[in-house]
Symmetry: C2
Subunit: 287 residues, 2 copies
Amino acid sequence: MQGSFHGRTFGALSTTRSKPIHKLDCPAFDWPVAPFPRYKYPLNENACENHLEDKRCLEKVADIIQRRRDGGRPVAGVLVEPIQSEGGDHEASPEFFQCLQQICKQSGVAFIVDEVQTGCGPTGKMWCHEHFQLTSPPDIVTFSKKMLTGGYFSLPEFRPAQGYRVFNTWMGDPGKLILLERVLKVIMQENLLATVGCTGLKLKEGLHQLENEFPNHINSVRGRGTFLAYNAPTTELRDKINNNLKKKGVLGGICGENAIRLRPALIFQPKHAEIYLDALRKTLKDL
Amino acid sequence: MQGSFHGRTFGALSTTRSKPIHKLDCPAFDWPVAPFPRYKYPLNENACENHLEDKRCLEKVADIIQRRRDGGRPVAGVLVEPIQSEGGDHEASPEFFQCLQQICKQSGVAFIVDEVQTGCGPTGKMWCHEHFQLTSPPDIVTFSKKMLTGGYFSLPEFRPAQGYRVFNTWMGDPGKLILLERVLKVIMQENLLATVGCTGLKLKEGLHQLENEFPNHINSVRGRGTFLAYNAPTTELRDKINNNLKKKGVLGGICGENAIRLRPALIFQPKHAEIYLDALRKTLKDL
């Protein structure tokens, strides 16, 4: 997908389309790229336009799959982030993902969801694609980061027939799995997914308020759980806001051309959200 | 190099030429492959033939580099294992590696040594390429396995000018580095490289004795430190020997068409070598 980031090894990098610097000097496979929706915000005021944007992207996916098949180089899989992160925190609707899966099913193409950034809770569900009410699970789900080790789940039919065809030295890295087991236990014991949901609502509500108060400085608040983002009108202003936040003790992230992204840990609570919103309000006032 | 194994991600796999099963169904880059020496044993009785084998392979390397440059697709790097492991434990002489590095230097091609299997002590030196008396260090040395985490060393000029161009989530994986620090400490405190050298000599001497006693069953004893191997005349006999060793409690490995490889831990001592040699003698006697 245009704007996607899937990693830096040569195969993953061939599917990555966020920043040119990532791909410079690296060989790449000739694999096709489709558009991923770019929504207008607020969503409830732009429903029709965003629906047409979904349609435009989906038609292009179907068209590429058809043309590649006709050309004798059929598409093996569609790789998609539930929220395009590195590329600018672009979200897409449940309907988009439902239709995308449908197209994949009809074409015999693997539907692969890259949950490296979104997986393990930050959207308020264990996996972000749980928000999409898919009619069946994705064919393959990849994970890393919060999961402490890289890996994937897949449907049984994606398991190679021969043993050891998917193999590496550490095979799941048992040492990391011991740590992960404890992480998962804490998530359940402390009910952290509910915390993320609760904190996320408060955080998003506060951000909506701020974009109303400072419409010339921030806009397009979006995201799920605490996996939220907003835009500044220009890259310069975005960088200024992020730097001024840092001076107030807030370590934040940027992505895409003009987005500021929020990636708090799962233990981020409503009281922490208040601290963040206060710091952001002061930052925006001082501009 | 023909017979090499460098990994399973798409870039690494494009340079891998050991078994067809590894590459099946996977896209690959159109990168050239050169022969790696295949020696006759014992080395001291085949010095002249093996020297010619070095020459044949080196001429082919130089020829490929020249032809690719003429064709407008210059070679960026030569990737080589100090001992071809997965491909059948094929070793090459210090002179081969010295000349290979020389060819790379003269052509402006990176000389990359893959020490994933050989690194961190099993050949009796920390890095197997230390056996080769190279006039200068390799441009890049890759490691993994015994080093507990994957990575590489490189000369400063191979560092990208821009920050974060070589980057991943864990950046060296500090948790693994804590474990590695302890591993390195134990290697030094217990003088394990000297142990490997000592055990290796005893093991190799014993294997030479056995290939003389059972010339119809094993041959071509080779390797450095305890990173040793020998061949059986056929794949069937090789598998039989390895399976019968297992029945005697020896967990061994196989590689290539007809090789049995030894990969004991660094704490393997001369007394353990005796146990192995006894088990192997009994196994060969029973055939």
